[in-house]
């Protein structure tokens, strides 16, 4: 079961964090950023940057999260960089989370799922164009919009993280509002997610169908953890968004229970005074190690 293998890898690396490859040209070192005159250039230098980061991080982090928005903005060429980055990370033994937040009605959700978790059938063959271990999903459309992803998780040993409580400041605008059963929307969403993943629970008790729970909302994260011991969390919001290791400790029990994302702090570590003079990949590695220590001291 995928979630067991991810947890085993988290234990092996002693690192419950994931490096977010939200790479845009602004994050590239001056000497390559200045060469990005076309979408093709941008995609090329972003890919090179990502490959170097994967090389530097592959024995430090168990997984990478690749945010597709930062590749879509570079068009078709950007989508090639996205695809190549996912493939390179997988080849180097990292778990991959494609952060795509896809959502639609059943038939269309099936098409999305083909792209990432299932397969696209062609004449005489079948392919998974953006093959990923996990993707993120938005559950606003309810069960029949999520089922195609869950079916592919079962068939191909994949996983999803469904948005429950997001890390952004407006995350509570709808998600924290109480519903007819006296529970907030995020809790009603968490209950659905728990049900969708029931058949995908592994040896540690966690399901390959997990939840996105932001590090920036401690009380809500604690409530979700308490009510849903089987939900494994993808935890954004640490670092640049203001979430602290101390806040997200509530997501864990005995050191497991979630994986914490950091993007900007790792990608642009080379610009920080404490890493002055280091190459971007070496700085990223040191930042990832510092993040691991910061989180581990709070969750253990």
């Amino acid at each position: 079961m995928l979630i067991d293998r991810l947890i085993d890898k988290i234990k092996e690396t002693d690192n419950p964090s994931v490096a977010g490859l939200d790479t845009c040209v602004d994050y590239l070192p001056d000497e390559t950023r200045e060469k990005c005159e076309t979408l093709y250039d941008a995609a090329k230098y972003i890919t090179d940057f990502n490959f170097a980061l994967i090389d530097a991080l592959k024995d430090v982090v168990p997984a990478v999260k690749v945010q597709v928005a930062y590749y879509e903005m570079y068009g078709v060429e950007g989508m090639r960089a996205f695809s190549d980055t996912l493939a390179y990370a997988r080849q180097h033994g990292l778990f991959t989370i494609a952060d795509v937040k896809r959502n639609d009605i059943g038939s269309t959700a099936s098409a999305y799922s083909n792209a990432y978790l299932g397969e696209t059938v062609l004449e005489g063959s079948a392919v998974t164009p953006f093959e990923s271990d996990f993707i993120t999903v938005n559950g606003y459309l309810g069960t029949d919009g999520v089922k195609p992803f869950v079916e592919d998780c079962k068939k191909n040993d994949r996983g999803i993280f469904v948005l429950v409580k997001t890390s952004n400041p407006s995350g509570g605008e709808l998600q924290d509002r109480l519903m007819d059963n006296g529970k907030p929307l995020y809790e009603n969403m968490a209950e659905l997610v728990d049900g969708w993943g029931e058949a995908l629970r592994g040896k540690y008790g966690y399901s390959s169908v997990g939840a996105v729970v932001g590090a920036t909302h401690r009380a809500q994260a604690e409530a979700i953890r308490k009510a849903h011991p089987h939900l494994f969390f993808l935890i954004p919001g640490y670092g640049a968004q203001g979430g602290k290791a101390d806040d997200l400790a509530v997501c864990f029990r005995d050191g497991i229970g979630g994986i914490v994302n950091s993007s900007r702090a790792i990608l642009t570590a080379y610009r920080k005074p404490q890493y002055a003079g280091k190459a971007f990949d070496e700085a990223a590695r040191l930042a990832a190690i510092a993040m691991r220590e910061d989180i581990n001291k709070c969750i253990k």
Copy 2:
């Protein structure tokens, strides 16, 4: 204002419907479908099929809706077909709705918006890789996740349709549930959407920030129309999903108020007995005309 120009075009074509280009290889005629052995082949024949449909439909429908899931499933090559289809439709005077249902925290929503509505800044230039008039957006993350799209709507005269009440069978699972103010989630979402679009209302009173409201849920559509006279609707669910022209009449006043999507019934019209012997593009044209008549007789 974009929404005014769309309404003018709806009046000019006397057609409040949009052709959904949810093209996958299964919908292609046998002679091209059988040639789709690689993603490259699939993208090529899908593009050819779409171009022929646009040629056949350009004086019948005011707009096309391109569902990105059916292009993502063909990978990078599929995204090229998506991009080329959007560009070809725009070149031929059709309004374009990229049905992408994107959603994320503010900084990431900005990256998505660059791809479709804004622009991606490069060294010495800026481009909009998947330029579209409108995109669809999922509002689960609240105001700060939608604001970057709305800002680009203001800056570049674009539009969005935010998911309010979706057409799928499970659409009500969360969306119909009552919240703390005694109103269902979809109504709370509609109120937010109405507010986001306040500064983008045009001469007909409708905003370029509209709502996705399914044709399959008549009572809810009627309630949203009554409470939100400024929301223009993108209406999926007609035809293959079971929505009838009679049901969606509640979305319109004096013949305007929304645009109704049909995908499969147009794309695969050539397989229907009544269009036997017609080429796929000619059959699609006849099906689009039949849809126009069917809807007009109910909304006028």
